[in-house]
Subunit: 95 residues, 2 copies
């Protein structure tokens, strides 16, 4: 069950999920740079929707057996840390 | 690229997506049976969220190369037809 093709799918799944997580960080960065308030309900809504979409993708990859549960959780955890840092930096800059 | 493992992943991806689409139909059926109004905003919101989640899963499977674009579209189209029939049947029953 670890043929070349299986490894390719696993690697591709992981790379796609990481790329999608990075896209969320970039999107939030743009929002932070352009909205006056990070507490804006629109910001929360966009973030919630994006996080939900990514978590569905990760869950699907786990159920397929392409991504381990702990790796999927690690992608979400790292994204949350990055967003939290971004949020903090923005609040400080405006301080 | 069509080893047994690749075929297994493709079949599993398709089966998971179909199962998730069926789950949405069942969820909406329960909502129809228990809510007084199919026009209820909660109903719309649950449906939108579920459709968005499924479409993200399908899109992910297509990008992975596990599901063909036309098959992914067919799953969503069929789900939409089933939901539309369900909606119509409920409205008639209450007529």
């Amino acid at each position: 069950m670890t043929s070349n093709t299986a490894i390719n799918y696993r690697e591709r799944a992981y790379a796609l999920l990481k790329a999608d997580a990075d896209k969320i960080v970039k999107l939030i960065q743009v929002q932070m740079d352009n909205l006056t308030m990070p507490q804006c309900p629109l910001y929360e809504e966009v973030l919630d929707t994006q996080m939900f979409g990514l978590s569905r993708e990760i869950d699907f990859a786990i159920r397929l057996g392409l991504v381990d549960e702990k790796d999927g959780k690690a992608i979400l955890d790292q994204l949350e840390r990055e967003l939290s840092n971004l949020h903090e930096a923005t609040v400080k800059k405006r301080g």
